[in-house]
């Protein structure tokens, strides 16, 4: 199984390792990555928008790399992101929240605007105990909503160093344990990232 991880940070954004180190390690693991806020043309790179409500539209209009991710968590930001067809991925909508960050209204908007909702693997891998249980519950909630409202889910690591990248077979087994079917796992790991990348290039 192939894995295209579109939420990865190098030292050009919030990460620790250089783009070259990240790309080299990804090659060793047999995965493809897209780096947040990287350089245009040299590798796959996307814009991650981390903005407040006032700056959101302004930041969005400037975003011009291969794809656009929105740093989610705040309900209003989540809703703005899901309402915009210029946004490709809403990352960790549950960040810092008790709920999963999505409701029926937002789920419907995400489906209408083809905004993929991220399944943030880092939130499971880096946590433990009750916070991991909480993260798993939120992912299951969003999976249930995606089945009902037909929005896309995309798996991504949110890695900030090369050691946080994960290879395809482990991620697929993890998704299946959470409750994804084989086909849903394949879609979140490969088909939806490919769809996102083809959208801008096409």
């Amino acid at each position: 199984m192939k894995f295209i991880d579109l939420h990865v940070h190098s030292n050009l954004s919030l990460g620790r390792d250089s783009p070259a180190e990240m790309l080299e390690h990804a090659k060793k693991l047999g995965i493809e990555i897209g780096l947040c806020n990287g350089k245009r043309g040299e590798y796959i790179s996307g814009v991650e928008i981390r903005a407040g409500l006032e700056d959101f539209k302004n930041s969005l209009s400037k975003a011009s790399l291969d794809y656009t991710i929105v740093h989610g968590g705040d309900y209003d930001i989540n809703r703005l992101a899901a309402s915009s067809s210029r946004v490709d991925i809403l990352a960790h909508p549950d960040l810092g929240r008790k709920d999963s960050g999505l409701d029926a209204v937002l789920a419907r908007k995400a489906a209408e605007n083809s905004v993929a909702i991220e399944v943030n693997l880092g939130s499971i891998i880096k946590s433990g105990g009750s916070s991991r249980a909480h993260a798993l519950k939120n992912i299951r909630r969003n999976l249930m909503l995606s089945r009902k409202y037909k929005f896309d889910l995309v798996a991504a690591s949110g890695a900030k160093s090369r050691l946080e990248l994960r290879s395809a077979d482990g991620v697929s087994e993890l998704l299946k344990l959470i409750g994804f079917t084989e086909e849903e796992a394949l879609s979140a790991m490969r088909k939806i990232p490919e769809k996102i990348l083809n959208r801008r290039r096409g």
């Binding site: 390690h25 693991l29 499971i124 891998i125 880096k126 433990g128 105990g129 991991r132 160093s161 090369r162 050691l163 946080e164 990248l165 994960r166 290879s167 077979d169 482990g170 991620v171 087994e173 993890l174 299946k176 344990l177």
Partner: protein
């Protein structure tokens, strides 16, 4: 002395080879402890007993090792390896290299046999 079960009744096993990537080389005991505790923490005692995971070897020079588990639970083992992110305060990633039915085939396919001989 207890007799070994006949072949037909023995539980089928799978051997899983893995490789550790980390900031600094890991020690054998650290890796064994980390995999064991991650499996117990994530799956709980009951499922961990079904997985029946034992780390058999970890070569500190090559940072490669292998473990044995129940043949039905290989997926859970791969997931558990994916979930290990810290060993003794060091960031790590344990990559599954491959799965095999015998140690001999596992070494031939995925590990450099000379380094891994017990």
């Amino acid at each position: 002395m207890i007799k070994i079960l006949p072949h037909s009744l023995r539980e089928k096993k799978r051997y899983v080879a893995f490789r550790a990537y980390s900031e600094e080389p890991l020690k054998r005991e650290e890796v064994i402890r980390a995999i064991r505790s991650e499996t117990l923490a994530f799956f709980g005692e009951n499922i961990a007993s079904e997985i029946n995971l034992r780390v058999l070897n970890f070569d500190e020079a090559s940072q490669k090792g292998f473990l044995v588990c129940s043949h039905r639970e290989v997926g859970k083992v791969k997931a558990a390896l994916t979930l290990v992110s810290m060993v003794n305060g060091k960031k790590v990633f344990l990559q599954t290299l491959g799965v095999s039915g015998t140690i001999k085939a596992l070494k031939r396919k995925f590990l450099n046999s000379k380094e891994q001989n017990k």
